[in-house]
Symmetry: C3
Amino acid sequence: MKFNGRNVWISPKAKIGSNVKIGDNSAIYDHVEIGDNSIICNDSVIGEPLVAYYHDPDYENPPTVMGPKSLVRSHSIIYAGCILGRCFSTGHRVTIRENTTIGECCSVGTLSDIQGNVKIGSYCRLHSNVHISQTCAIGDFVFLYPFSVMTNDPYPPSLDLKGGHIGNYSQVGVHVVILPGVRVGANCLIGANSVVNKKVQDFSLAMGDPARVIMDIRKYLVMGKGNPYPWMHRFERGMPWEGLGFETWMQQNVKK
Amino acid sequence: MKFNGRNVWISPKAKIGSNVKIGDNSAIYDHVEIGDNSIICNDSVIGEPLVAYYHDPDYENPPTVMGPKSLVRSHSIIYAGCILGRCFSTGHRVTIRENTTIGECCSVGTLSDIQGNVKIGSYCRLHSNVHISQTCAIGDFVFLYPFSVMTNDPYPPSLDLKGGHIGNYSQVGVHVVILPGVRVGANCLIGANSVVNKKVQDFSLAMGDPARVIMDIRKYLVMGKGNPYPWMHRFERGMPWEGLGFETWMQQNVKK
Amino acid sequence: MKFNGRNVWISPKAKIGSNVKIGDNSAIYDHVEIGDNSIICNDSVIGEPLVAYYHDPDYENPPTVMGPKSLVRSHSIIYAGCILGRCFSTGHRVTIRENTTIGECCSVGTLSDIQGNVKIGSYCRLHSNVHISQTCAIGDFVFLYPFSVMTNDPYPPSLDLKGGHIGNYSQVGVHVVILPGVRVGANCLIGANSVVNKKVQDFSLAMGDPARVIMDIRKYLVMGKGNPYPWMHRFERGMPWEGLGFETWMQQNVKK
């Protein structure tokens, strides 16, 4: 099937864990370390060299680390210098540029494009076609939906890049634009197609172009459903509180 | 050229019709059936296995059917369980997830991403970079333009998915967002960058965020052109009324 | 590494300059000419045949020219009939359709999609995921940011395509839509998420849906920074005035 070793290239300087599958037509470059029980599907590149590689005969690839139990779907490209925690997964044709750090149990959807020097926490979900500019940062348990963008250049074109920040547990809707340097607090919900041009406080429901805070998200009532936010009490698939409940998990975590 | 059988993998459990060309570096998985006179270009995957494939040693690929005279352009990925009618075509790097059903003579543009469990009628055109979420449905003769999105999650994140619906003959402009569960009627035109948050009646011209109905599309006059909608009277390329005219075709169809 | 000649196909009718590197799994078609010192990374296609190729046994690929010192990153597809100036570069998975002409020293970002019969000047930067429809035209030193779109169909669907135009030095923000046939002047800045539905004069700062001119960009003051526009006085990376300054370069250029 697709893991039959056909047209695969693995650098002798890569370290491949035990029980790792590498799909056909994939390439693993120098100084890549792939954790145990990971799957790299077909036509992928892990440890893609930086631009100096093309011109510098002494180029040395920086280390790239992918944690155990990762799943990279086909046609994805992960640059050298990325540090990705355990249980990392991608859709197809994902690009992650150099020196990006991603925590545990995150997923990055089909066609998403992380431009490098980005920090992402743990348990985040980037759906399809999310674009994160350089120097942006994202907390834990953050979800971004298709075609959402974090930008970084306040006076384009410039070299004065200011990535924004999204706090823990926040949800960023489809086609949302976070303008350069803007901070979205924790536990926010940003409505579809919003342009966020200034700081959004924790627990805000914000929407519009420019985005305005409509209400405290804890007061948001849905007919027949009550208050769906904060969402951690009603959604647990893939979250560390799965099977436990958020409150129990929090109590256990705080004890530690 | 690109159909020289270089680095091609075809499952012995696939059924390939007569006069089918398969491009270099492509893979055809178990239980895929490709109709006669189809072309699968290079670096494509047809019958991509579902996620259980990676872990379940007894995994069996569900059947995938592609009708005759189809053309899949390079680097596209079509998951197992899809049923695609005759004369189906794609641009490059299209993703179609599992259990999607598409009628006859549809095209799906470069980089479009159909997330699975989607139903699309016949003679639809999805241009580049269209994103359709799970459980959405689209009628016949519907056109969607670049970066348009159909969403499905009313209170993200949730598992309570409610795909929307677009009626026959409707045109959905660039960067339009259809919110979860929203129904766009037949013969509508949705202007660029609109966010559609509630039901749109048949024959509406709607635009804005949130989208508002501006007028009955049949009253829309363009200087020097008269009324361009419904469009079927003036556009026929690739439509079943090509060379016949819409009214004649309708009369013939109704007779049947 | 990735230039080890593995699974490469080069037409005997292609002309490859001196010191050109071609990555693994790439294909170079008939009548492609690649200038000296260029790099074509892995899994790319240069000179992708037009649709007649699939059906016409007498099909002949039109000439494709890529200037010297070009860098095409992996998984990109450049159709036959394109003429690309020196120092052209792309991100990953770029698509450039047939008969597109691009000047010198342009870059086209990851996942961008240029639909064919497009004219782009010199020193332009298309960032990731920019979509340019057929018959659109772009001047020199123009920057377009992610998910920006130039459209071309005033009454979709039609065959009456009218591409827009963007003048020299203009900056087009993320998620901007330029409607069919609209002219954006020179030295403009179009804010994020705008929909440009009518002509924008030179030196305009415009934003909104529909876009309105907010002020003459030369009067735009930023606290602590003064006036950042026109931008050529403060940004020179990769521009022909790098190391010289814009005014000196202009004077030298005018003398010529």
